[in-house]
């Protein structure tokens, strides 16, 4: 459960990071887009304004050229010139309208433009009011004076003020562009910082994750160790239930477990043995000595017969042998005799040689002979007791009925 929760927590962090990255991208895209369109608009406005101002200046220049041409007697068709002038002045008015329709121009640009516009209006009025007497009378000196003294100052002032307006618009555009550049750099720096922080966060996150994984592995390892220990302990406990502590042989419960299932349909050779008058050893040398003696006997039996039979220490000094499946009835009898020989041979216990005779019973079990292990053992014990009652140190056989 805890593992699942932490997994969920981790994926939550990833989702948050992904959302953060997406938001960063969107904000960045919006800001970049804004700067781009702002620049684009400024460029368009500037170009429209410049066109208008240049057009006004150009037309003014044309009108002035005509005036000079009249004064120099290069043009004399006053009607045509007046018509041209009116058309050019119409163009100036159009360009003025185009300029005035432009939004977002600075007060400085408007102020300078208004100055120029006023001069142009006066200039036109001056041209309209200009007496044609000097022109028609052909007084070129007077025409020169009119040009130089009345018209020229207005034309030069208007032209300078128009070009000044162009300069101001240029400077304004420069200012906006610079502001946008600063904004772009700020944006870039901001995004760079965010990206670097993101990288650091990823690194820290990865490091933390690695540490957590190592901790988890460590915990799993110690858990496995605990588990193994537990298994061993459980095995030991389980073994204790079916093993005789003194001799290390399986006990009666183990025998019950092992052969219970075979009683109904199994066919096998089984034998029991115990020392004749073992009690005299305990009485004479004490229980500790008796235990040592039994342990020595059991060790010898395991050494000699564990390959041919499963050996159980079912009570104090009583051993039960369940012979392997391949052992025949006659072989079992032979082995039983060997068992008797081994058990009754002398053993050195605590520097004393001890020797006791033993009796046993062999049973050639056939399927369904007994209902349970208990009745099987009763049969064997009965046969063995008969042998003991007959003087002991012999092997009897359980008779099949």
């Amino acid at each position: 459960m805890a593992k699942g929760k932490s997994k969920f927590k981790n994926s939550g962090a990833y989702i948050a990071a992904a959302i953060l990255v997406a938001v960063m991208y969107i904000v960045n895209a919006i800001l970049v887009d804004r700067i781009y369109w702002n620049n684009s608009n400024v460029s368009q406005t500037t170009s429209r304004v410049m066109n208008s101002l240049n057009k006004i200046n150009g037309q003014l220049s044309e009108i002035n050229n005509d005036t000079i041409a009249i004064a120099a007697n290069l043009k004399t068709d006053m009607e045509a010139i007046t018509k041209d002038t009116e058309a050019r002045y119409g163009n100036i008015i159009d360009a003025e309208h185009a300029f005035e329709a432009t939004e977002g121009l600075s007060d400085e640009a408007m102020r300078r433009y208004n100055y120029a516009k006023n001069i142009i209006n006066s200039y036109k009025q001056k041209l309209d009011a200009m007496g044609t007497s000097a022109v028609t009378s052909g007084n070129y000196q007077e025409m020169g004076y009119i040009l130089k003294q009345d018209i020229y100052p207005m034309q030069v002032t208007a032209s300078e003020m128009l070009t000044s307006t162009i300069d101001i618009v240029s400077a304004d555009t420069g200012k906006i562009m610079r502001k946008n550049t600063i904004q772009s750099y700020l944006l870039m720096t901001m995004m760079l910082v965010v990206a670097i922080l993101g990288e650091i966060a990823v690194w820290l996150f990865a490091r933390k994750a690695k540490k957590a994984r190592l901790e988890l592995e460590e915990r799993e390892k110690s858990l496995a160790e605990v588990d193994a220990k537990l298994k061993t302990t459980r095995q030991k406990a389980s073994d204790l239930a079916v093993i005789n502590v003194l001799t290390g042989m399986k006990n009666r419960y183990a025998l019950d477990n092992d052969i219970n299932d075979r009683l109904e349909s199994g066919r096998f050779q089984i034998a029991v043995f115990d020392m004749d008058n073992f009690r005299s050893i305990n009485d004479t040398y004490g229980y500790d000595f008796g235990d040592e003696y039994l342990a020595a006997v059991a060790e010898k039996l395991k050494e000699e017969f564990s390959e041919v039979a499963e050996i159980y220490n079912i009570t104090g000094n009583e051993f039960c042998f369940v012979f392997n499946k391949n052992i025949s009835e006659s072989q079992a009898m032979g082995i039983a005799q060997n068992i008797q020989r081994v058990m009754s041979s002398p053993y050195e216990v605590l520097n004393l040689a001890v020797q006791l005779p033993c009796s046993g019973a062999v049973y050639h079990y056939l399927p369904g002979d007994c209902l349970n292990v208990n009745s099987l053992l009763v049969k064997l014990d009965t046969a063995m007791r008969n042998a003991k009652m007959n003087g002991g140190n012999m092997i009897s056989t359980v008779m099949n009925i």
Binding site: V21, Y115, D150, S164, D167, I168, G174, M177, S184, A195
Partner: protein, 375 residues
């Protein structure tokens, strides 16, 4: 776990590279949209020193124009005005101050045609641009631009308008009486006077009629024509001798005294008086007004001080030649700014001169000239 980690790393590195791309994109669009010329400069506004001649309304208007240009085009104006129109010492000091203040250009109306040259050399050595306004410095080749109203032409404006007044009055050039000229001490006075005399003389040459030759005898005709020519020439000679000039003066009071000296008590036969700047104009008006000769003498002056305008309204002053000082200051600073930005400018700009009198002083254009703040 590792896979996730690498995906996240990939996203992060993509973000980083996308940032770089976007950055490159921003820079590009910026350059593409940038304006040409001097609009694109960054940094603090450059300092431009504006140095004028003396404390008069004419120079106040120059200052106003310069300051407007500084504000509109982005320049810091360091303004200095000398104490009088021959005070070049404070102008030399102002140039040195401008150099010390790290000015990038100097716009100057020099009080001496030669005495400022060594200070200019110092400024030019520091890469400072020099825009000369109003009157020209002599023998100095490192001026970047010269902006003025031609003084000869300005004198001609005065003469032409005197001629108009005479024509309206139906005056006879032969019986015109004396034409008195009160000039100021600066170099501009000489050119104004030169323009005035030559143009008024040319009008006289048109207006003074040659005697009609009635002789029919072909033998005597040539003689009669020569006699007529000689008479005409002598009339022109007489006319040219009718110009009298007072001593050059700088102050209004001195101009008044000089005018009174010429006028005597009853005008001394003077019918026209021409003054070449504000102070001399005011001095002449003071004298004419004092002697109550306002109606008898045509007075033509220079510049457009408020007192001069009130003399026009009173009728003492018949008209004044106005040079658009606001424009001079404005264009001076504008050219300086362009020169700092490396853009070329006109090296000699004549901004013209306009005649202002009682009948046109309320015209829109004249009002713009007189009151540049009005628009």
């Amino acid at each position: 776990m590792n896979k996730r980690k690498s995906i996240f790393r990939a996203i992060a590195s993509c973000t980083l590279s996308a940032m770089m791309l976007i950055s490159a994109g921003c820079g590009k669009s910026q350059n593409a949209g940038g304006p040409g010329g001097q609009g694109g400069q960054g940094g603090p506004p450059p300092k431009i020193a504006v140095i004028t001649k003396q404390q008069l309304s004419f120079w106040d208007d120059v200052k106003k124009g310069a300051e407007d240009a500084g504000k509109e085009l982005g320049a810091q104006i360091l303004y200095t005005v000398a104490t009088s129109d021959n005070d070049y010492v404070s102008q030399v000091a102002a140039i040195k101050e401008a150099i010390a203040a790290d000015a990038k250009a100097i716009v100057i109306a020099p009080n001496s045609p030669t005495e400022l040259n060594s200070a200019f050399d110092e400024a030019v050595a520091k890469g400072i641009k020099i825009v000369n306004i109003n009157s020209k410095v002599n023998d100095y080749g490192k001026i970047d631009s010269f902006i003025r109203s031609s003084d000869i032409d300005s004198g001609a404006v005065a003469a032409r308008n005197v001629a108009k007044i005479l024509e309206n009055k139906g005056a006879d050039y032969e019986k015109l009486g004396k034409i008195a000229i009160i000039g100021h001490t600066a170099s501009t006075a000489e050119e104004r006077i030169e323009g005035f005399i030559s143009v008024l003389t040319s009008y006289a040459a048109q207006k003074i009629k040659k005697p009609t030759v009635t002789e029919t005898d072909p033998d005597k005709l040539r003689e009669a024509e020569e006699a007529a020519e000689a008479e005409y020439n002598s009339k022109l000679e007489k006319f040219s001798k009718s110009f009298i000039q007072g001593d050059r003066v700088a102050e209004r009071k001195k101009a008044e005294e000089e005018s009174l000296r010429l006028l005597g008590e009853d005008g001394n036969g003077i019918s026209i008086m021409f003054a070449t700047n504000t102070n001399t104009t005011l001095g002449v008006c003071d004298a004419v007004s004092k002697l109550k000769l306002d109606d008898k003498i045509i007075v033509i002056g220079f510049n457009s001080d408020e007192e001069e305008l009130s003399f026009i309204r009173k009728g003492t002053l018949d008209g004044t030649v106005v040079q658009n000082p606001y424009m001079m200051g404005y264009v001076g600073v504008r050219y300086a700014k362009r020169l700092i930005g490396g853009t070329s400018v006109t090296c000699d700009l004549d901004i013209g001169a306009t005649f202002v009198n009682g009948s046109n002083m309320n015209d829109e254009y004249i009002q713009l000239l007189l009151y540049p703040d009005k628009f």
